[in-house]
Amino acid sequence: MSYCVNCGVELDRDAAACPLCQTPVINPVCPPDPQAIPNFPMERQEVEPVDHRELAILLSAMTVCTGVCCGLLNFVLWRGVPWSLFVVGACAVLWVWLVPPLLLRRAPSAVLLLLDLLAVGGLLVLIGTVLQGSVWLSGIALPVWAGFSLILLTIWMAAKNRSFLSRAMLILGGLALFLVWLEFIIDRFLGTYRPMWSLIAAAVAVTLMLPLAVVRTRPNLRRQVRRRFHF
C-alpha cells in the first residue's frame, strides 16, 4: 500500500495518484498494482434524454386549434375584416418560438434565433399586407426589424464563450447602435434625418462601456473588482 506524501492518507492499491491532491504515486517498494480490482466500476451510464416530442405535439395541437377555430369563426360566422389572420400569424410565431427548440435540440442557438426573428418578420409582412400598409411596412417596420435582427444575431454569436464584462460591453454597444439606427429610420420616414436623442443615449452607452473595457483589459483591476463585488 502507498500513502500520499502530501495528504498522509492511505491510497488504493491501484491508485496512480492521490485523489485529493493528484500527487502521483512513485513507490518503488510497492508500485501501483494494475491487476488490483478497482474500487469503482469503469462503466459509465447516461440516463435517457428527455423526450420533448410529446410536448411539441401538444403545443402544435394547441396553436393549430386556436388558429383553425378563429379562422372558422371569422370566415363562417363573422365575415368582414379578416381579423383571424392576425391570430393565425401570432399562433405561427408562437409555434416557431416554442416547437423548434424542442425538436431541434442539436441545432445551433443562432439558427433558432434566426427562425424566431424571421417569424416576427413574417408576422409584420402579414399585418402590413392585410391592412394594406405597404408604406409604413417598407418605410419603418421592416427596416427597424432588419436592423434589430442583425444586431441581435451579431451580439448572440459574438457573446458566446465571452466573459461577463465582454458580454455587457457587447450588449451596450448593440443597444447604442440600434438606437442610432432607430432614430435614423424614424427621421427618414418622417422627412429629414436630424440625429439627436439617439446620439445622447449612444454616448451614455459608450461611456459605460469604457470603464468596463478598462477593467476587462487590466487583470489586476479585474481581480480587485471581482473581490469587492462578489456575491
Binding site: D12, V47, V50
Partner: protein
Amino acid sequence: MEPCASQPSWYHLDNAAMMYSAIQRGNYSALYRFSAVMTDPVDPQCLQRAIDKTLPRFPGFQVKIRRGFFWYYFERDDGPGPVLQRDIRNPCQPVRFQNHDKLIRFFYYEKRISMEVFHALADGGGALVLFKTLLAVYLREMGHAVPNTHGILDVTQPPQPEEWEDAYARYAHSRVHLSMSEPKAYACTGTPEPFYTLNVTMGFVSVRELHAAAKGHGASITEYLAAILLQSILIRQRREGHRRELPVSLAAPINLRPYFPSTTLRNFILTVRPSINPELGDYTLDEIIAQVHHHMRLHITRQEMQAVITKNVSLQHILPLQLVPSPVKNFAMDLGYRIAGSRPYSTTFTNPGIFQVPEEMESLIHHMEVVLGQSYTPRVNCAAISFGDIMEITFAGTVRESDVEREFFRTLVREGLHVKVTSNRKECVPCHTASTVE
C-alpha cells in the same frame, strides 16, 4: 406477496417529498445511495430474488410518481422490477418522471450491493430499514440463517399502514409556527463538471480512533466531523480572499423518529444548521467544535422542531395555494428554492449513524457506504455511516475541485487518525492507464 386490499393505490406526497419533486429537473434529482460491501462476491441471481421478495413488503417504495392537477402523487407500481443492474462509475443519475423511471434502483459490483432512492420516497432512516431487510433476505437466499431483529422486517408479514403515514402531518400541531429563515451562507460552489458526472471520494477511518479523538474534544462523532467540515470550508473561503467573508453553515438532517414516536418509513427529517461567522474572528478547531456542540444541543428540541414542522405543513394547507395548478406551483417552489432554499447553507452533512444488524450478519458485511447525490448547485456534499469499526465518510458532488475533501481528510490525519481514501475521479486512474493522463 400480492398487494393487500387495504393497501391504497395512491399516496399523498409528504411535506419534504413535495419540495424534492418540485425542484426536480432534467439534470437534477435528489437521490442518495446506500451500499453494503460484503465479505464475498455478490450473487446477482440471489440478489434479484431477494429484491423480488422484499419489495412487496415495502409498498411505499414500489410506486410511480404522477402529476395531478394540483399536486404530484404516488401511484402503486404493479409493473415488474426494479431490475438489478451492474454498477456504474457515476452513481445517482437523475430520475426522469416523464420517462417513468423507477424511483428506486439496485446495483451490484464485485462485493458491493447498492441501493439508490429518490428522496421523495423516504429519508435515510426509512431507506435503511428496507436496505437492512434486503440484505437479510439476500443472505438467507445465500444459505445463512438471519433472524428478524435489529430493525429487519419480516417479509412474510403484510405491510403495516403506519409505516406509510405522513408523520409530518401527524405532529404539525404546535401553537407556534417557527420558520427557519437564516442569513445567506457562503455558497462553497466550484467549477461544474459536465453533465452525468458525479465525483465521489470516500475516506475510511476507525470508529474507535474517531470516537477517542472526538471525545478528546468533548464532542460526539457527528459534531466532531461537522466541525472539521466547517473548518475545511472556512479555509477555502479564506483562500479565495473575499473582502467580506460570509458565514459558513451546514445543513445537517436530523431524524425525528426518536423525538416524535413514529414507525413511518417515509420522510421524517428536519435540518439544523450549525454555523460559523468568520467576520467575528478566527476560530480554532476546539472553538468550532464547541459552537457546533452547543448549537445542536440548543436547537434539537422537540418543541422547536414541532413548531418548524407546523410551519412547513401549514404552507401546504393554505387554500389559495392549494388551488394553484401543479406546474405553476412547481415553478414557484423551484424558483423559491433557487433564490432562498439553498442560500442559508454551504453544504450538507449527514450521518445516519451506526448500521446495526444481527450478530449472524456482522461477519458477512465488511463495511457500509453512503453517497449523497448531486446537489442543486455545483457543490460537494458530505455523508458518513459506520459499521463495526469502520466509519465511511463520502464527499460527492458535481464540482471539479477537491479542496474541501482534501482539507477535511488532512485535518483528520493531523488529528492522528489513519485515513484510507478512494475515489472515482477521472484523475485517479488505475496505473495501467496512468501514462495517458497528464
